[in-house]
Symmetry: C2
Subunit: 218 residues, 2 copies
Amino acid sequence: MSKTGVTVGSSTYEKLKHDIIFGVLAPGTKLKLGPLRQSYEASVSTLRETLNRLASEGFVTAEEQRGFFVSPVSNKDLIEITNLRVLLECHAIRKSVVAGGTEWEGNLVAAHYKLHQMEKRMATGDESEKETWKRFDWEFHLALIQACDSQNLLDLHAIIYDKYLRYQMLVLTYRGQVAVEEHKAIFDAALARDAELAGRLLEQHIQNGLDHTLAALG
Amino acid sequence: MSKTGVTVGSSTYEKLKHDIIFGVLAPGTKLKLGPLRQSYEASVSTLRETLNRLASEGFVTAEEQRGFFVSPVSNKDLIEITNLRVLLECHAIRKSVVAGGTEWEGNLVAAHYKLHQMEKRMATGDESEKETWKRFDWEFHLALIQACDSQNLLDLHAIIYDKYLRYQMLVLTYRGQVAVEEHKAIFDAALARDAELAGRLLEQHIQNGLDHTLAALG
DNA sequence: TCTTTTAAAATATCATATATTATTGCTAAT
DNA sequence: ATTAGCAATAATATATGATATTTTAAAAGA
């Protein structure tokens, strides 16, 4: 999902975050400094810096003098995260669709094209590149809101999206043609500069994804 | 605003965050580890943990291999932060006003009472306890949204609120009787369980605060 | 003036020491 | 016997100072 940063700290951060989001480290797992030191090839200090960052973002839970844990998951948390994603992303898409210029349009077209190519591969049953597919999904959603003109909003959204992604990865299944059509509809509404429609379609899209995930979680 | 945590790390975090929010450390200041080590009486590693946390939250800006800076301020950033606060807090108050029980009402009444007492003191020109006043302001706004039933939303809001507070502290002046009446109106609407009205009044209240701050910043 | 070299400062990383928490095994009481 | 309380020990987290890299600044050379 991202290359190995230049410093030990940043690459450790990337690796740990990836392993939490993609379920390599199960929810609730105790993150003991000693063992982590070996598996991530970093010193205690570097690991603690990383864990503190991840704790601020909510992927890790820190208990004073008792150490770090992979944050637990729950249906309630998933629903809260989804509601926040709807709140932030729908607000952002409305701003973005109104403000976006030609540059924005170009990036959006490119992002949708790439996502659609991958969706076609997924439709054939080729599930060898789920991570790539999810990355293109992320890039498409990011492209939609990119022109919202608020870095603070984009930053917040990125974290919430990653938390949402973690739940998706727990049950990762392809939602199929329906989701493809939803993406297309949002894409068309955005290019047509219909901010309200784009917002409504996006909300429905995210809501459907939640239902799908909740059903898969049982 | 917060007590001196039990570990060196947590108390350093509290102190540094406080000093950034309350302007002791000016925006843009380079945070060199050596000097910090002395003024905050903590080791390099402990300081780096703290700075990484604050960087995640946006109070500090980290540049790979170039160190840490107090995040800069700008009118654009203030406007972005305010818009996010409106988005999050108004959403939360609507949920909260609908869902709140007697416990919530009680806390809200208490919070408003305390805030109002302090407002009366401020009105007399007694500006000796600005920090206390701002804390009661925070507690009132928190009490309003407390029952929104989303810890994720409350966590996000707390960070955004602190960022907003930092801008207030740069120009700290008492907005006077107008703000007092706005608080009272929001309070009444909340107790009357008029979620829509409470949301609208809150949005206007925050917007007015922004105008006041922008005017003071010049 | 521009590039290259050198010296100083600052950051990133580590290994180790200290403090805290968790575990184990024992004793005594019900 | 079983369990509650308590001590001793092990495991773990926290904190520090020292070291290795990297960046920045200054000086020298073209």
